[in-house]
Subunit: 91 residues, 14 copies
């Protein structure tokens, strides 16, 4: 049963580190864009609607890289092909 | 019973590091946006409402990457599929 | 009794590092926002109330990422599912 | 069956780290471009359409490096040639 | 008696590193806010009272993240659940 | 069959890290150029066509370093000479 | 007597690293505040008393994080619960 | 056959890391030059031809360091003298 | 006699690293304050006495963090409780 | 035959890392010089010839450090004295 | 005689690293202060005597942290209590 | 023959890393000087000859540190005293 | 004779790293001061003598930290107390 | 003969890393000073002789730290006391 433990360990660590490391860049990038949006708003209040719209569309795009990490993290936890194969062998 | 210990160790470490590393980017990004919001407020007090609204919507979006990490951290502690499978085998 | 020791070691280390690493980003982010708030106050004293209010609401939001880490750290110490299971087996 | 476990471990770790590390640069690069786009919009509102168009085409190009990582990550999980060969041997 | 030694080692190391790493961000964040407070004071001496009040309330909030680390560090030394359980077994 | 496992592990890790590390520089470089392009556009809208053309030709050149990494990553997965030789020996 | 040596080693290392790492942030934060205080003094000599008072109160607060580390370091050396327990067992 | 595996592992890892690390500097350097070229174009549109020509000749020169890495990476995969010697011994 | 060697090794390493790492922050912080003091002096020569007085009081405060490290380093060398206990056992 | 494998492994790794690490500084330095050359060209178009000439002579000089690394990398692959000696012993 | 070797190794390494790491901060801090002193001198030549006096008193203070490291380094080499004890045992 | 392999491995690695690490600083320093030379040329074209002469004499001096590394790297490969001694013993 | 080898290895490594790491800070600090001296000279040529005198006295002080490292490095090579003791035992 | 190999390995690695790491700071410091010299020359051409003289005297001083490393590196290769002693024993 040792193979199960090795795959499980590696998957738990990879899953935790994947979303942790992956969210650093995303959060910093979004924070930077948000900060600039607020500065632009103070400088040009009349363009508020355009700035807000582009900000949220752009942040969704930056967020997408965090979501890739979240997806891989979830796959490693709940749809892990290596783990599933071993389980199918054991049963 | 050694497999249980290995999976448990890896899950405890992954859970702790996941939220710890994941919150760095999020906190720095939010702090930057908050700092800029206060600067914008001092520069353009009349836009206070718009700035505040966009700030908190944006911070919620940045916070979301920390929440992904928190979710994965909780899953690793309380809904860990690798641990649960091993427990089901032991019982 | 060796499994207990391994899980205990991993949990103690994860708990200590979780809150330690997690508080870095939070403290730097809050310090930055606080510094900017004081600069804004000196530039626009009339907006003191608004600046103070947004500052503390925002800092509470940044603080939340440190609190996630504190929660996980406490769970690893006092409500650790891996440790509790092993204890229930030993008794 | 130990070979399966080694390949599985390496693939799980590589898959998680690949998308995690790969998304850092992409998210920071996109965040930077987005922040500048908002600054340019506030400075030159009349060029809003051109700025927006170039921004999203460019972000798609930056996103492509994250997508390369996502593709390699998916291949390592679901179309892994090393794992598939070993499975074909076992069956 | 080897389990005691392992748990003790891990707890001593985690306790020392927890407060050490956790105080870096806190001290830098507070230093930054303090520096800005002094700059604001020189720029707007009339707002001295408001600046001082917000500075110390805010620094207390930043200090809180260092205090979380101190609390976890003390728990690991003097109320360590893993150590206490093992002692209760030995006696 | 142990040689196969070692080569497979090394190739999976190298493939994942290759594209992950290689895309950091590329994404940051492209993001920087894109940000400057938007700033230039706001400053000199009449040169929009020239700026856009040079931007995309240049980005393609920067992208090329990411593509070298992607090519090596694919070779390591699907045209790996070390793995192929071992397979030819086994059959 | 091997357990004593392990706990002693870990405590000596943790004690030395705790105060060493913990004093980095504190010293840099205080140096920054001190530098700014001198700049403010040169800019607004009339506020010398207020600046000096806030500077030293604030530096005492920053120093507190270094003192937490010093306290933990001293506890690890002279009131170490793990070491004391083992000694009480040996005697 | 163990020597083959060791050489193969080292070559696969070296090949992947070589192009990955080597492309970081190249991509950042090119991105910087490209960004400055666009800024210069906006500042001095009349020199567009000269700027563009020097930009692409210079980028080709920067690209050359990435190409050195790609060449070494290819040699390690397809013209590896260590691997070839061992193969010639085995046959 | 092996326990003595382990404690001695750990104490020698901890002592050397403690003062080495601990003096980095202190020296950089003092250098920064000193540099700013000289700049202030050139800008406002009439305040020379006040600036000099605050500079040296403040530097003494920053120096205190280096002195904590020096104290711990000396304790580890000459008043090490772990070493002393082992010696008292041997004699 | 194990000595051959060890020397081969070390040479393959050293060769790959040598050119990879060595090209980072070179590419960044050249990119910086190229960026400044384009800025100077926009500022002083009349000096275009002198700027271009010095740029390419200087870049060749910076490139020389990358070429040293490439030479060492090639020597390690194709004129490796350690490998050649071992081969001459084996034959 | 193995204990002697272990203590000797650790002391030699600790001694070398102690002064090496400890002199980084000190040299950078002094260089910064010296640079600023020269800038101040050029700006306010009449204050040359005061600037020079404060510079050298301050640099002596910064140098003190390097001297702490040098002292510990010399103690580890020539007055090492762990080494001396072991020698007294051997004789 | 194992000693030969160990010395060979260490020499190959040291040789590759020596020139690789040593060329980073040199290339960045030369790139910086070259960039400034081009900026100075655009600012003061009349001093072109003096600037060019000092630039190339200075770059030769900076290059000298890379050449020290290259010399050591070549010595480690082709005039390695450790390797030569062992060979003289074997023959 | 194994003790001699261990002490020798540690001393050779410590000696090489001591001067290598210790010269980084010193060289950067001196370079910074030298750069500022040249800037001050261009700004205030009449103070050339004073600037030059303070520059070289100050650089000698910064150089002193590199000389501490060189002294320790030489002691470790030629007056190493650990090595000398072992030799005196062997003879 | 194993002691010879260990000392040889350590000396080869220490020698290569010593000059490699030691030349980073030196090259960057010299590059910075050279860049500033060229800027000063463009700003104040009449002081060309003084600037050039101080530049080269200062660079020789910065170079000295690289030369210390080169000397230690050469000693480790050609006048290594540990290696020489062992050879004298063997003969």
């Amino acid at each position: 049963m040792s193979d199960l433990a090795l795959i499980g360990m590696a998957s738990a660590l990879a899953s935790g580190l994947c979303i942790a490391i992956g969210s650093i860049g995303s959060a910093i990038g979004e924070g930077r864009a948000l900060a600039q949006a607020l500065a632009s708003l103070a400088q040009q209040p009349d363009e508020g609607n355009t700035i807000t719209r582009i900000l949220f569309v752009g942040m969704a795009m930056v967020e997408s890289t965090a979501i890739y990490c979240f997806v891989v993290s979830m796959i490693l936890l709940f749809a892990n092909p290596f783990w599933n194969y071993l389980l199918s062998q054991v049963k």
